[in-house]
Symmetry: C2
Subunit: 269 residues, 2 copies
Amino acid sequence: MAERGRGWARAVRGLLLDVNGVLYDSGAGGAVPIAGSVEAVRRIKASGLKLQLCTNETQASRESFVRKLRALGFDVSVAQVTAPAPAACHLLRERGLRPHLLVHHDLVPEFAEIDKTNPNCVVLGDAAENFTYANLNEAFRLLIGMEKPVLISLGKGRYYKETDGLKLDVGAYMKALEYACDIQAEVVGKPAKRFFESALAELGVPPEQAIMIGDDIVNDVGGAQQCGMRALQVRTGKYRSSDENHPEVKPDAYVNNLAEAVDIILQEL
Amino acid sequence: MAERGRGWARAVRGLLLDVNGVLYDSGAGGAVPIAGSVEAVRRIKASGLKLQLCTNETQASRESFVRKLRALGFDVSVAQVTAPAPAACHLLRERGLRPHLLVHHDLVPEFAEIDKTNPNCVVLGDAAENFTYANLNEAFRLLIGMEKPVLISLGKGRYYKETDGLKLDVGAYMKALEYACDIQAEVVGKPAKRFFESALAELGVPPEQAIMIGDDIVNDVGGAQQCGMRALQVRTGKYRSSDENHPEVKPDAYVNNLAEAVDIILQEL
C-alpha cells in the first residue's frame, strides 16, 4: 500500500511521531531502537521538516524520557515532546483545579508547580506499582466526596507489553473509578482532539501540512485523522495484521516502519 | 407508604432477606444488629414462614458468615444462606470450568472441592487487600491469554461502607478487567435472575408467594421483582431518600426497618 498512491506524502512540512513501537520497542532487557529509526530521525532533521514526538508516556517526566531517547541515539529535545502530563497541567491551571495525583513516582516532578492542597480533582496516570488497593480507594473516596467529581485520565490505554509480560494500562483503572463513582473521566492524551491540536501548535504546522506516524490504529491514526491530519500506521510495535480490517479507521497509508515512511516523504519534498 | 395498600403483604409463605443493612450495620468496632431485627428473625421462624438469607457477601465462607450472625443473636443456619460463591461453584461444575481465584482469603474454602489446575476462567470476588497490582495483572494475563476469556464476577457492587470508610467493591475491578480484555463478565449474585431463582428453590416457595426485603433499590428490589417476587425496601443500611425517586425501580412498599415489615406481614397471615 505504501507503494501506491503516494499523494499522501505531498506538501508536508512537519511530522508527529509516536514513540513506543515507532522509535523503539520495549523488550527484554530494556528499550531497543527499531531498525532504521535512529537514522530516520536524523534524516528528518537534516531535511528541514519539523518534528514533534506525540506520546501517551506517563511513567516518566519529559526530562527523563528524553534522556532515555538520547541514550538510545535519538537526537531530540524536551521541547519536542508532547505528553499528557504537561497538557494536564495546562488544563488544571486553566480551570483552577488542584489535583490529587495517582500517578507513577517518576511523573510527579511534572506537577511540581501545581497547587495540590485541598484537592478538587483526581489525576490518574499509569501508576504501575502505585496502583495499590489503598491508593485506589483513596482516589475513589476523594472523588465520591466531591460535589461534582472531576477525574482526569492521562490516556485510556487498555494494556501494554513490558519485559515481564502484559500490564494493565491506565484505562482499566479509569473504568474502575468511572463505574464506582458513576462519572465519565476527561481523557488528556491521544486520541483526544485537543491533545493533537496542542502537538500541532508545538510543531508550528497546520494539520493539512502534517503527518502523524504511529503503531496504534485508534489512538494514533484515528485521533490524528479526526484533527484533519494525514496518518500512517507502521507495521512495528503493537501493529497487528487485523488492524488492516479495522471497521472504523483507515490510515492514509501503511508503511513497514518509520524508515520507509521517511524514505517516501523525503522523495516527495 | 407501609401504612397504605397492605395488599402487598397477603398470601406470603416465605421471605428472602438481604443481610448487611437489613439485619446488621457494619459500623465502627464491627457489626451491630439493627434495632428489632434479631427479634424479627425470631418471630419469622415462630410464625412458620420460611426464611432464606440472600446475600452478595464474598468476604467470608458461609460457615464463618453464619458464626458471625449467630454471635450477633440471629438464629440462622448455613443451609439458610444463599451466597454467590456456592452459586459460582455450581456453575463451574456445570460447565467444566477450572477457576483462577481472585477473591478474599476467607472465601477460598468455598472452592475447596473445585479443580483449579490449568485455569480456563477467572472468578472475581470482593478480594479487598488481595486487589494488588500484581494480582490484578495476573488475572488479566490469564484472561487475555484465553481463546475465549471467561470472567465470573461474584456481584457487581460499586462500593460499600466499612469501619474506616468507603471501599471499592468487586464491580469496579470487574469493569477494569472487562475493559482491558474487551469482554463482558458473567455476574453471579444479586441482581442476576438465576441467583434469585436458586434462592427461591432453597426457600422452597414460588416467587408469587415470596417477598424479598433489602436495602438496595437495584440489586435487592429490582432484581427480585424481575423474578416475579414482591420486594420491600427498608429505610436502613445503604437506603437513601433519593432511592424513592429511582427512575426504574419502585418497591412494592417501603418500611422503616425489618421489624416493621415483619409486623405487617404477620398481621396479614
